[in-house]
């Protein structure tokens, strides 16, 4: 107890801080002998481990599980379907939860359209094959036009309505009672970030937001390249910030079982004899996403190429925007 009083007086508030300080620092700070400091730390460490075993998924604790458990978890993982069967096929079922998917493409090719579609499709009730989740949409470019989302949502509701009428099952009909335009729109949480500082701040706040709104299954950042591509003289700062951002997003995707979808711009790489379009933000950013989709044009046909994926092979499919 006397020790406790001294610890509090010295300003230690959490067990974590104690463990970080180490015995020497501890003894200096509160004026006890080194042996006593060591003992105190051991007691605290045991307590911490006891806590860790009980809590699940707290940040800072390490969980041990077998690869089999991981495989089962992954297979049970849901997908957010896009309602474009060719696209869902090449992705292996749809946009995967707990993974980061990056969509790259030239302007006007359909990246924002797909993001808006996913924000609607994530809300499809489970009886229709969806994940019944909510969506967070972080917009850095200002291209989120709500009228278009209304079009997409109305079409989705109609599509599900047709399925419900065809099958006439009770849970379908019950789900359709709550699956309407207003409910879809009210579960898309929209954030507008005007520069990279606002974006960084927003991502720091995301974990708490997702804990409060536990039904969110999709986080879209439309335009991850836009705020980082103008006015950045210090490229090493940019790389460091992007890496930090990627790590935070990976943690968010995993802890909250959400899919994270990012859109990226294309930039020209001038080669020896010709120039090619490559995704922006550099080579190191390419490692951030688990799955990379590149949208491009071939004459007047839009194509989607699965460029990087741990489980699916590289393939290209045509698609339309209706």
């Amino acid at each position: 107890p006397a020790l406790r009083a001294r610890l509090v007086a010295a300003g230690f508030q959490t067990a974590q801080e104690l463990l970080e300080t180490g015995p020497c620092g501890l003894s200096k700070e509160i004026g006890i002998s080194k042996e006593e400091a060591l003992e105190a730390l051991q007691v605290v460490r045991q307590e911490c481990h006891g806590d860790a075993a009980r809590t699940t998924g707290g940040s800072g604790t390490t969980r041990k599980c077998t690869a089999l458990e991981l495989l089962e978890e992954e297979q049970a993982q849901g997908f957010i379907i896009t309602f474009c069967s060719a696209l869902d096929n090449i992705l292996g079922g749809g946009v995967q939860l707990t993974k980061i998917t990056e969509i790259c493409g030239a302007p006007g090719v359909g990246k924002t359209q797909l993001c808006m579609q996913l924000a609607v499709d994530v809300q499809i009730p489970e009886c229709f094959g969806g994940v019944a989740g909510e969506a967070v949409f972080i917009d850095t470019e200002g291209s989120f036009m709500v009228d278009r989302v209304v079009d997409i949502a109305t079409a989705c509701v109609q599509h599900c309505q047709l399925i419900a009428e065809a099958h006439q099952e009770e849970d379908h009909l019950k789900a359709m009672e709550t699956f309407s335009l207003e409910s879809i729109l009210s579960h898309i949480y929209y954030f507008r970030c005007h520069d990279y500082i606002e974006l960084l701040a927003q991502v720091y706040l995301l974990p708490d937001f997702l804990s409060e709104h536990s039904k969110v299954r999709l986080v879209v950042i439309d335009g991850i390249a836009f705020p980082f591509r103008h006015d950045f003289e210090d490229l090493s700062l940019r790389t460091r910030l992007l890496n930090g951002l990627a790590q935070q997003l990976i943690i968010i995707a995993n802890d909250h079982k959400s899919a994270v979808v990012l859109t990226n711009q294309m930039t020209t790489r001038i080669g020896q004899s010709q120039s090619t379009l490559v995704p922006a933000l550099g080579e190191s950013w390419g490692h951030a996403a688990t799955v990379r989709l590149i949208f491009h044009w071939d004459n007047s046909q839009r194509l989607a190429t699965l460029y990087k994926s741990p489980s699916q092979k590289e393939s290209t499919i045509p698609y339309h925007i209706t």
């Binding site: 959490t14 302007p107 006007g108 949409f137 898309i188 701040a201 927003q202 720091y204 706040l205 004459n299």
Partner: protein
């Protein structure tokens, strides 16, 4: 920076002051390890600091899509758009030009780009009820002289173009007074124009439309093929400045671009001619429109043949809220009018 306004532990505030950290931007720019080293705080404290600072920055920033949809207030609503003054053209664009973002109007020469821009400068001055923004416009010329005679013609004929607006309202608006013409022949002058002069006009609320005629002319002479990296950087900086002005003042920015037969870059459209300035500029745009004198292959036999020779096409190349569509129009004495 007054750290006391944040909801922070006093020891954290003291550490920040001691480490000479002056702004939120600095805190977010530094990595967790750097912050710990500079402030000698524990990682739990740093996490708390980051969250508090982020929260203060982003406090009331969440909206649901439903709120966006139901927002009818003309000061904030997304539904509010700048009309083009013609119902056919407006219905192609589902209301008109969006208020926040850079819209590009590209096309071959003498297809009608300047005509459309002049018309917009007049449309912006009408009341909100008639699709305007009740404010003036800035017209930045980068190559030719400003077509003031044509503007005068258009002003005189406004009552004919805008038959939907009562005559008293048209007479009350002093169109010529609210159009500010700037000239900027090179990049430095342009930079000066955007950062100082336009900001001033926007801050005073005197203009709610910026037209740049043309953006390609600024870059044509000064950059060769080998300077593409510098050119891209200039484009990105200008794009960013224009974008932030547009967002801050809810003002549409209309940039006129010209054709380039440069086959160096991907062509985004079917035909051979593509807008100049390439992909680094296109990435900054919200919407791209293209005008041409060529009739589309699928021409409607009836209406178009009446005006054969002077019929132009206005096409949506890309926009987040519009399908790929086009419509025909002619340039008349009173202005640009769409053909159904």
């Amino acid at each position: 920076m007054d750290w006391n306004q944040f909801d922070l532990n006093p020891k954290v505030i003291a550490a920040l002051k001691k480490a000479d950290i002056k702004s939120v931007k600095e805190i977010l720019n530094l990595s967790g390890a750097d912050l710990q080293r500079l402030t000698k705080l524990s990682s739990a404290d740093i996490q708390c600091l980051l969250k508090t600072v982020s929260y203060t920055l982003r406090r009331n920033s969440m909206l649901t899509a439903l709120q966006l949809y139901q927002d009818k207030d003309h000061l904030t609503s997304q539904h509010q758009k700048l009309s083009l003054g013609c119902s056919v053209l407006d219905s192609l664009l589902k209301g008109g030009i969006p208020l926040v973002g850079i819209t590009e109007l590209a096309g071959e020469s003498s297809a009608g780009k300047t005509q459309i821009s002049l018309q917009l400068c007049l449309c912006v001055q009408y009341p909100y009820k008639y699709g305007g923004l009740e404010s003036g416009a800035v017209y930045i010329c980068t190559e030719d002289a400003f077509p003031s005679k044509r503007l005068q013609q258009l002003i005189d004929q406004q009552h004919k173009l805008r038959a939907d607006v009562p005559a008293e309202i048209i007479q009350k608006i002093k169109f010529g007074n609210s159009i500010f013409v700037e000239h900027a022949a090179d990049l430095d002058a342009f930079h000066n124009c955007i950062t100082k002069r336009i900001s001033l006009l926007l801050t005073r609320g005197m203009v709610r439309l910026v037209v740049i005629d043309s953006i390609a002319a600024l870059f044509r002479c000064e950059f060769g093929v080998s300077d593409s990296v510098t050119k891209a950087r200039y484009l990105q900086t200008f794009g960013a400045q224009l974008h932030s002005l547009s967002t801050k003042f809810r003002t549409p920015i209309m940039c006129i671009n010209q054709q380039s037969s440069n086959t160096f870059f991907h062509s985004l459209v079917d035909n051979r001619v593509i807008p100049a300035l390439g992909i680094s500029w296109a990435n900054q745009l919200l919407m791209r429109l293209m005008v041409s004198r060529v009739l589309q292959p699928e021409q409607s036999s009836g209406a178009a043949s009446h005006h054969a020779g002077s019929v132009r096409t206005l096409r949506v190349v890309f926009a987040p809220h519009l399908p790929l569509s086009f419509c025909y129009y002619t340039v008349k004495l009173e202005g640009v009018k769409g053909i159904k």
